[in-house]
């Protein structure tokens, strides 16, 4: 249970800003800034944060769709071999992508509208195992059954499916190569609540059945609480708090996490909320040398504004705050 499948160390993804025809770019956006964490085998690792916090970029870096600026992502493959994805070439990545798959946010745009289900779900099998014809359609039909779809849907086009069914197709495609790690980028955000629950249950059942490890990227705390074992909270490209789900929801250590949890709507008009109100997203200039959250933090001091906080370990939580455990 506790052996590590994915080790992310000091990961940076900086995008240049500005710069035109002749000019050099002057500034960078630190979408992912010095992130480190481990993902254990068979756990569900959640990444939450507001939009713009860099969680999707982080997911795409782990998938190696984007090439990170620096850092390392070490994946332990099925055969026990450890590979650093940041140093892998195109051909090697194509092989690694069999062990590590992705489920996309928008089931509408992640399925090519011009291909049939057989082709969409089966193209990785056709490529990696050289399956075709009857063998391929049998395998795809089996995959459809595993995600709760009828095998007769094989010859249909994506436009014949509802949103929930399409996301099931996306999951079937991810399962095709029998991966160990699945990165789900906002996999249920585009669905309505009743369908969300179905898909989450499906994901949990599949995890049991195939001993999968999930990296689950989301912005909805209720969803994350339901499915994740551990959660990393991201703020402006950094992981500000990483803890077990239960601990994080019971006793959040970072002021941002607290504000985030506070923002979850409570279905009771008499309950007052807003104890930990934060100001609107401040302008995050390049020269922010202190804590990135300082401008919005109700507890900020001069120390916060001038010095970047070190990573602290407080009661099994990793927190990025000067006053972690004190406030």
């Amino acid at each position: 249970m506790s052996d590590t499948i994915l080790k992310v160390r000091d990961l940076n993804m900086h995008f240049p800003v500005g710069g035109g025809f002749f000019g050099k770019s002057t500034d960078v956006v630190r979408a992912v800034d010095g992130i480190s964490f481990d993902v254990r085998r068979r756990e569900t690792f959640g990444i939450v944060g507001e939009s713009g916090s860099g969680k999707t970029t982080l997911g795409r870096c782990i998938m190696r769709v984007l090439k990170p600026s620096s850092g390392s992502i070490v994946l332990r493959r099925k055969d026990g071999q450890e590979v650093d994805l940041c140093r892998s070439g195109k051909a090697e990545l194509r092989d690694i992508w069999k062990d590590m798959r992705m489920v996309f946010q928008d089931p509408q745009s992640s399925l090519n509208p011009r291909l049939r289900v057989l082709e969409i779900v089966g193209q990785s099998l056709r490529k990696s195992e050289g399956l075709s014809g009857k063998d391929l359609s049998e395998r795809v039909a089996q995959l459809l059954r595993q995600v709760g779809l009828r095998p007769e849907f094989l010859m249909r086009y994506p436009n014949a499916f509802s949103g929930g069914q399409r996301q099931r197709l996306g999951i079937a495609r991810a399962l095709a190569t029998q991966p160990e790690l699945i990165i789900a980028d906002e996999a249920v955000s585009a669905l309505d609540v009743s369908i969300q629950a179905q898909i989450l249950n499906l994901l949990q059942d599949l995890q049991e059945e195939f001993s999968l490890t999930y990296v689950f990227i989301a912005h909805d705390l209720a969803v994350v609480e339901h499915i994740c074992d551990r959660i990393a909270v991201m703020y402006l490209g950094q992981v500000v708090e990483l803890a077990e789900t239960e601990a994080l929801f019971r006793a959040p250590k970072h002021p941002y996490t607290r504000a985030l949890l506070d923002a979850v709507p409570v279905p009771d008009p008499r309950k007052r909320r807003g104890k930990h109100k934060v100001s609107k997203l401040a302008d995050v200039g390049a020269g922010s040398k202190g804590c990135r959250f300082a401008a919005r933090c109700p507890h900020a001091t001069d120390l916060c504004r001038n010095e970047a906080p070190p990573a602290k370990r407080v009661q099994d939580s990793d927190v990025l705050c000067h006053f972690a455990g004190e406030i």
């Binding site: 992508w97 992640s110 509208p113």
Partner: protein, 380 residues
Amino acid sequence: MTVETTLGPSGTEEEHTPELLGPWALMWRKFRRHRVAYVSLWITGLIYFMALFGDFLAPEKVDETNRRGIFVPPQGIHFLVTDEDGSRSFQLHAKALKMQVDRATMRRSYVQDPDKIIPLGFFVEGYSYEILGLIPSKTHFFGPKNPRDIVYFLGSDRLGRDILSRIIIGTKISMSIGLVGIVVSLVIGVSLGGLSGYYGGWVDTLIQRLVEFLRSIPTIPLWMGLAAAIPLGWPPLYTYFVVTIIVSMIGWTSLAREVRGKFLSLRNEDFITAARLDGLTDWEVIRKHMVPSFSSHIIASLTLAVPLMILAETSLSFLGIGLQPPIVSWGTLLKEAQNIRSIIEAPWLLIAPGTMIVIAVLALNFLGDGLRDAADPHAH
């Protein structure tokens, strides 16, 4: 339109069918709902039929001159003949004409000869030709029953040649030579636009600056210069062929931009990323996912480019730097109507080919519009 709710209680396959349609079938359904475009498709089809079977459709030989039929106005088709005993019977015919010359002004005029009619019919015998250049034949779709009679349905020109036949024969050149140019634009446009959009960076910059440079060159002087640079000894069709290819060397620019834009937007689509993650190589992603996604747009923009090519041919021929007589095309026909005298004395020289060009260009434009709308998933 909600598709789920159309499922009947029995859930039979018939009720599923609309959902099972593929993207091309859906496009076709949408296209058929566009009435004007659908009619235009038929007209375009007819015009190309005319181009293929021109000799079959043309009543007269295209370069047959007739000294006694100069500037004959269009002749009508009549249906009933009155016999000597006063009874009327059905017989397609045209009235025979007699030429009269006014001694004072030296002008010709034609009056109907009341004693003589020219019987007309379908599938009549005429000059010999080969169907599609293969099967020898003498049968023509419509014309005078006696091969020695001549009827000018759309009038005749200064050499007594039949305008209708010339328009029909001219279709072949006018509708086909543009296609060659379009194929050249297509090949260059898609490959350079694709390179530009897929790789980006300096490749993109280089190609885009080249496009901007080419677009900034004024075209008519360029064409004139090129036409002058081509050796005079070449046969006129060959010359024009070269000119079209040169014209399309510039014509690819807009297509290249369109393709580049499509590549740029597709590159960020999730299904492209998904295909890469499925282990497909760059080339496989382009071939299997990207090209099919914009092929419908390409077809639409090509359809819209054909009328431009036809108009270019027409205006080049009109200016005298495109096709030259004796080649028959719509442009060279219009060139016959280039002076005031023929416009006053024989306006059909201008009206007949002009109408044909307008019909062809409009039909192709509507067809292209319809295709584009049908291909666009966001259009209503």
